[in-house]
């Protein structure tokens, strides 16, 4: 399907983004079960219709040609979305949570989307980031931004423990190493009281240039915005950074090496690629991003406890990458919004929500077995390749 040649079209793509934004606003604001239901039916029909008119492929093509413009359009759309909900704490929290998960999933994507290193301990590294920001916030006076970086760094460093077994194993065997770590991590935090045990720890909020992110933005009594607005903007900024970083990485010779290692280790080794090196690099970079996301998540929620980081949560992270389409950061971002927002919107059906959520994901996969937005062929010359 995605191999069909489609011509790029800027107006259509921009229109789709605009429609998507409008839809997101409607969907996030929807509280009534009939409205949510009809919106879901609508989006399904819209997706079916757009694939009939080849719109998705045309968008792919447009993204390839007008890359910077399209990326800017998405950023503007997100800003609009955030601005629309400027005083709606809950919607902003959900948007931000989705973006944080997207950052973490981009980290995972570097690991197994590019280098093919499986990681089923995503939630553990997210937790390491959270706990780092809890501990550093409590005992030191380091600036919040530095704590975010350190969260990533600590995650990356702890990840190095796993590098040896991960490198020596492959496939399902490597999966087991990370699964074991994921379970070990959560159990350890629970039984060990140094880091608060099962009760968890409080996390200090983000402070930037003396501005505490946990205070509402008020301008002369006339304008009051949610404090989550700051977090949303910070998350958007971090997400954009992570996105640019992963795109650069993908396009560079490093990304090329990683792709080649994922596709055929033996052949890559024959061509002189250092497999151990690039796998470790991908694993460490990925963990760094997940750690940063975790540190920010912790500061936003203000509280961290081991039961946030179970093996099940690691599976949620992996699901985001798989559902989005392995290797495509756009897909990952889309999937993160679905995986975070859909169960939340299903709150209206209370105890039945995970049943419905499971069924929805199964259907998505049956109709798009390769994920929502599968990775396209490598684009060597960004902006220069005409379809």
């Amino acid at each position: 399907m995605s191999n069909k040649i489609a011509s790029p079209s800027l107006p259509i793509s921009l229109a789709v983004i605009a429609l998507g934004t409008a839809f997101a606003i409607l969907f996030l604001g929807a509280e009534n079960e009939y409205l949510i239901g009809s919106l879901l039916v609508f989006v399904t029909l819209a997706v079916v219709a757009s694939s009939k008119f080849n719109i998705l492929n045309r968008m792919y093509a447009t993204f390839a040609v007008h890359e910077v413009l399209m990326q800017a359009a998405i950023v503007v759309a997100t800003l609009l979305l955030v601005a629309w909900f400027y005083d709606d704490h809950f919607s902003l929290l959900m948007i931000t949570a989705a973006m944080v998960y997207a950052i973490a999933a981009i980290g995972l994507n570097i690991q197994f989307g590019y280098a093919g290193v499986l990681n089923f301990a995503g939630a553990a590294f997210l937790g390491i980031g959270c706990y780092t920001s809890a501990v550093l916030g409590q005992y030191t006076n380091l600036p919040s931004m530095l704590i975010l970086c350190l969260g990533g760094l600590v995650a990356a460093v702890i990840g190095t423990i796993l590098i040896l077994p991960v490198l020596r194993t492959s496939g399902h065997y490597a999966a087991l190493v990370t699964i074991a770590f994921s379970i070990l991590f959560k159990t350890f935090l629970e039984v060990n009281d140094v880091l608060g045990g099962p009760q968890g720890l409080n996390v200090k909020p983000t402070v930037l240039f003396g501005w505490n992110f946990n205070t509402n933005i008020e301008i002369r009594d006339e304008f009051e915005a949610s404090f989550y607005l700051c977090y949303a903007l910070l998350a958007l900024f971090l997400l954009a950074l992570a996105f640019i970083f992963t795109r650069r990485l993908e396009r560079s010779w490093i990304g090329l090496s990683m792709d080649s290692i994922r596709l055929d280790e033996t052949a890559s080794a024959c061509y002189g690629l250092n497999i151990a090196l690039w796998k470790s690099v991908a694993f460490t970079f990925g963990n760094f991003l997940i750690g940063v996301a975790g540190a920010m998540y912790g500061q936003m929620l203000g509280y961290v406890a081991p039961s946030n980081f179970t093996f099940g949560d690691s599976l949620i992270l992996v699901s985001i990458v798989l559902l989005g389409g392995i290797g495509n950061p756009w897909g990952v971002i889309t999937a993160a919004s679905i995986v975070i927002l859909l169960p939340e919107k299903f709150q209206i059906i209370q105890e039945y929500r995970f049943l419905l959520y499971g069924i929805v994901v199964i259907f998505i996969l049956l109709y798009r077995p390769k994920g929502l937005l599968p990775r396209q062929l490598r684009n060597y010359l960004p902006g220069g390749m005409k379809a």
Partner: protein, 389 residues
């Protein structure tokens, strides 16, 4: 595109008609309250039981013609996970129409969410979480709790068991905040009254097999096995004690006081001890009324041990709103001053941390497939004997 337009028009129509209908039905002023608890996952039985009970309180109030307002309860699922808890707490608290809420069964979730309620100024009453720090770990005026803490439970439990003449204990606890907390406080209280702890086993909340731990327990040969945890693994431990021939008295906490514990164990539940805050509901006139109404309402699932607390918490909220009107600040102030409020779980009086200080702890014993209050039981009057006495 035409299709899309048609659907859009349809949607707009649906919205319009919907809103018209709701305005038409509006006779009394509508007031929103919230319930938060675990509706999915391992402890969902308790969450659903609490939800039904709180819903029952709201339904009964709405059926009452003398009520000033019409209440709508939104219920949210916290999955027993702190991050989701903070999310749904924000959802409830950020919605200005929600006046107050009955919240949380899981302590770790409550710990995470109390800060959110404080930030948004939503008065809440905790209906199930028992960790002392939920109320005592902070100074939030918004947070109240109708059920007692694990401190009260264990104080009574330790003293009672020592007075019975038991000398040695083995503690098995799950590694969640619930089990670990019980471990800490029971140990503390037991030291005061001079009991001896021979061994301590932490188990995970989803563990199936306890034979290794229990064989060790058999070796240690204690008078009592103290279990700090919930029904699902309590059942397994009691069953496997029998299989391995561990002959010790089984002492549980509030976590096992459920019908499922009795039903699953059958005759093995005989003589199991449990301690719960609150007066025994069957004995209070309000309690009988609650069980009758609950049965009448035809809920699919039982109310479980903490259902009455959820009912009491929601009723207290509704009474307060009737009293001072749907205003968060007024409700909060009024809740802070609650003193001697009669509820189906006994008298409620909040201390300066919002904790119900009337911590009547009731002792229960499993007798003929029922939880019987100790003083009324055949064990209490000497007809039957607990193990190792």
């Amino acid at each position: 595109m035409q299709k899309t337009f048609r659907i859009l028009t349809f949607l707009v129509m649906v919205c319009l008609v919907g809103s018209l209908l709701t305005t038409a039905a509006l006779a009394k002023e509508k007031v929103k309250v919230a319930f938060i608890g675990p509706l999915t996952g391992g402890v969902s039985a308790n969450g659903i039981g609490g939800r039904n009970s709180a819903q029952l309180a709201v339904n009964l109030r709405n059926a009452d013609p003398s009520a000033k307002y019409e209440y709508e309860m939104i219920s949210l699922d916290d999955e027993c996970k702190p991050n989701i808890g903070v999310q749904v707490a924000t959802k409830a608290a950020a919605d200005k129409h929600v006046i107050a809420a009955a919240t949380h069964y899981c302590s770790a979730v409550a710990m995470g969410a109390v800060g959110t309620y404080n930030k948004f100024g939503l008065p809440v009453i905790v209906w199930g979480a028992v960790l002392p720090d939920v109320t005592y770990g902070n100074d939030y005026k918004e947070v109240h709790r109708v059920n007692g803490t694990m401190i009260n439970q264990n104080q009574v439990a330790a003293k009672f068991m020592r007075d019975m003449g038991y000398k040695t204990w083995v503690i098995i606890h799950d590694t969640t905040d619930y089990g670990k907390g019980h471990n800490t406080y029971f140990t503390k209280e037991l030291e005061k009254v001079g009991g001896k702890i021979l061994g301590r086993f932490g188990v995970t909340a989803d563990q199936q097999d306890f034979t290794a731990e229990l064989t060790k327990v058999k070796q240690l040969n204690p008078d009592v096995v103290y279990f700090g945890g919930l029904t699902n693994i309590g059942v397994r431990i009691r069953l496997q004690m029998e299989k391995l021939g561990v002959d010790a008295q089984f002492q549980g906490t509030s976590g096992i006081k459920s019908d499922a514990f009795l039903n699953t164990l059958g005759p093995l539940s005989e003589g199991a001890l449990s301690f719960q805050e609150g007066a025994p509901i069957d004995k209070l006139p309000g309690g009988k009324y609650f069980t009758e109404q609950y049965d009448k309402a035809g809920f699919e699932r039982g109310h479980e041990a903490y259902g009455p607390f959820a009912f009491a918490a929601m009723n207290l909220i509704l009474d307060t709103i009737e009293d001072v009107g749907p205003n968060r600040k007024k409700v909060r102030k009024s809740l802070n001053k609650v003193n001697g409020y009669e509820s189906i779980v006994g008298e409620i009086s909040f201390d300066d941390h919002g904790q119900n200080k009337v911590a009547a702890i009731t002792k229960y014993v499993g007798q003929d497939g029922k939880w019987v209050v100790w003083e009324d039981s055949e064990y209490g009057n000497g007809k039957r004997k607990l193990k190792k006495l």
